[in-house]
Symmetry: C2
Subunit: 454 residues, 2 copies
């Protein structure tokens, strides 16, 4: 019997997160004030985040100790299994060896609780009573609801109204863990009321939901705000994934030539890839790390590196990132977690400096790969995860054509149990190609009056 | 950091299933022909099942070797974790130690693939091209679809029409693994056409779906039929759960005083409990094994021990079992997997002989316990699993009142990701108590003209 799963014990849960900023030859550029466009310091974030997370956001320490309380909660589902994809290799008839790290074993079904738990813990430490956030597809809102419940913090989730109605089961999952979920825009914030006054039937958007969640936190001293990707501390918390995978690959007596992960704001990719990039920095290894993005929202492969806002409305600090422009509206693909106009600052700098690669896939290619994966390996992937699967299929075929055995590792970041509607649409032939035209990208970027990076 | 999960490696996947029949002081009574009411032998089952499964059905061997090919597929998700429920113990403020075996990590999300994989394997061995089955809530249909896909066997699932429309995601899961799913009654079988002629708007029932699946298999030499519970071989395949749990409890340095599992047809309960009952038989231990059933379908606690049909229509052999009568129609509770009028033969005999216990819970008590469990332990249980959780809550409270530390182990047989509608109804106050009246049971049993057991 061939071994499929390389597992670790709870004692082997890593004791540190890895902060890649310490190893980056070019450090990230500073954020700018949205009004003055001057560099801002960490204190500007104090109304929204607890101090410990702000410290992590600007830290240049290579290792940050994971608190015992956080490791204890991690042990509810971590260490997660690393799979050798024997069935998939056979199906693809490839000389490549394929491994995947499976994050879908968490209670909310994705990698998101890795940072949600850490964020809830630090908020609790500083006496925060309530955390607000936004959610689109619901993966992030679920994870934060789960985490807040464990630390006895109230959780308020502003869920994009159209998703609220389309994905009632995600909302119910949050309710089961005790969170309050609002269909955004609501009449409970100035931002929401303004939108509703203009358009009572507004279906909402992630931009509006962010505005509501941020306003709520900014106006109440005991309430803070939480973000599920993009920021440095969020990316760092996710490195628990790659830290475990490193040990597991070692146990398997192997080292990846290629590491692949889906790309939304960057935390999914950073989580698996950064600990392997460290080997490139520290040990002169040459591991290719590939970010898989949707061709309907191709900021890494077709965006520009420029200062831009994190939200649609333009309230957040300006961040130096690969962006399609903060007004870019991606097609309504099912991989909701990847429909974001910009990339996290750290990942953007790494791409700019050619330390990582990016590739884009159309949703049809992704679902074709996802269904084939499910039939080979059993697990039905989340639509976001299908992007990584599609990249792996391409690389495995290339290995076959070239007759070389590559070792490929990818992040199976979550299961598709709450996304079966997406598979229904795929089987029914309702999914179409969403290739963005050069004119659309041009038009979105033309409107930007944010600072250019010299 | 306290250890939460007791895990095993793939090498520790048990090599044998345990056949409790070998240890039963009173062996199960024989099935009777539905027409002649004379005892029938295994050959009567040949049109529906492959020979190897029929042999297992009537086997008195204590151990049956698990084929390497089946263990290989098991390794896709097995061994499953055994959890020490630290958070739950704290929440219940009980001196009891609570453990649970979590079967929701399987690709289809429940314990059902344990037998589905074995059944698909033996069918493949004997050249079977197609397997038919019925499904209600969808757990069983999903598991068989998953298993047939891996062994390259066609799978046809007759899904009760009302469930087909209410649970489209379960259907899509089966489709993703390549199965054909029909809304039963269909116009493709005599049984279905007959029902449709009488009532074109029939919502279907498990009884009708069984008739369709059986007819399809009986009429085609290359097609066999598969059942997800009740039969001896199905219960035996599930003992993989308890076999693993035995080793894990030993690793934890503990032995349960009480073992609890939900009860539908018996395979869930048998899976966890039989290997512990073996310790009672072999080593004189005194482990209490409690079956948790819904008070809306209380065959174990309020039914009679008598020969009855396995299906509603009366086509199957007569089986000696605890039953509410094959015409009993349970209330439409969300725990669809527990809505069956009878109990498996082996479990019935064990209950009759006082080797096991049974307890019934109303659905409100079950969901209250399930939500509390989700908030303590993170995992949202399937409605079926909530019955075991409710029993555990009762026993943990009793331990507290009596001031004694009991060790309780239960089967968390699946997650609730596809059952969030049930939680929605619970939160909305739409669930009502379904206590069956004595008159209702009386009326259902009064119609029986099946042989009485002396």
């Amino acid at each position: 019997m061939q071994e499929r799963k390389i597992t670790l014990t709870e004692k082997e849960i890593p004791e540190n997160w890895y902060n890649i900023v310490a190893d980056m030859p070019n450090k990230p550029l500073p954020p700018l004030h949205p009004g003055t466009k001057e560099p801002i310091g960490p204190e500007a974030l104090a109304p929204l985040f607890p101090m410990e997370l702000i410290k992590q956001e600007v830290s240049a320490e290579k290792w940050v100790a994971i608190p015992e309380e956080v490791r204890d909660v991690y042990s509810m589902w971590r260490p997660t299994p690393l799979y050798r994809a024997h069935n998939l290799e056979k199906m693809l008839d490839t000389p490549a060896k394929i491994y995947y790290k499976y994050e879908g074993v968490s209670p909310s079904g994705s990698h998101k609780p890795n940072t949600a738990v850490a964020q809830a813990f630090y908020n609790k430490q500083e006496g925060v009573k309530r955390i607000t956030t936004e959610t689109g597809a619901g993966q992030w809102g679920s994870a934060l609801s789960f985490a807040c419940n464990l630390f006895d913090i109230e959780c308020e989730v502003y869920m994009v109204k159209i998703s609220y109605h389309q994905k009632p089961y995600r909302k119910l999952m949050m309710n089961t863990w005790g969170a309050k979920v609002f269909a955004s825009p609501t009449d409970q914030t100035d931002a929401g009321r303004k939108i509703l006054a203009e358009n009572p039937d507004s279906p909402g958007s992630l931009g509006i939901a962010i505005s509501e969640a941020v306003e709520r936190a900014a106006k109440d001293e005991q309430t803070k705000y939480s973000l599920g990707s993009v920021l440095n501390h969020v990316l760092m918390h996710q490195t628990i994934i790659g830290q475990e995978a490193l040990v597991q690959m070692e146990k398997a007596g192997d080292l990846p030539d290629i590491v692949v992960a889906p790309f939304g704001g960057g935390s999914n990719f950073a989580g698996l890839a950064f600990p392997f990039l460290r080997l490139n920095f520290d040990e002169g290894k040459n591991i290719r790390c590939i970010a898989s993005e949707p061709s309907s929202c191709p900021k890494l492969t077709r965006g520009i590196f420029r200062y831009d806002f994190g939200d649609t409305v333009g309230m957040t600090p300006l961040l130096p990132m690969y962006t399609l422009g903060h007004n870019f509206v991606p097609a309504p693909i099912h991989a909701g977690g990847l429909r974001y106009h910009g990339a996290g600052v750290v990942v953007s700098q790494l791409l700019k400096d050619n330390y990582i690669e990016a590739v884009a896939h159309d949703q049809l290619e992704c679902f074709e790969a996802g269904v084939a994966f499910a039939r080979a390996e059993g697990i039905i992937p989340a639509p976001e995860a299908n992007h990584a699967v599609a990249t792996v299929f391409r690389e495995a075929k290339k290995a076959k054509e070239e007759g070389v055995s590559k070792t490929i590792l990818f992040n199976l970041c979550g299961h598709g149990n709450f996304d079966m509607k997406a598979y229904e649409d795929y089987f029914a032939g309702k999914l179409v190609k969403h290739e963005v035209t050069a004119e659309e990208i041009q038009a979105s970027l033309a409107g930007l009056d944010t600072p250019v990076i010299g």
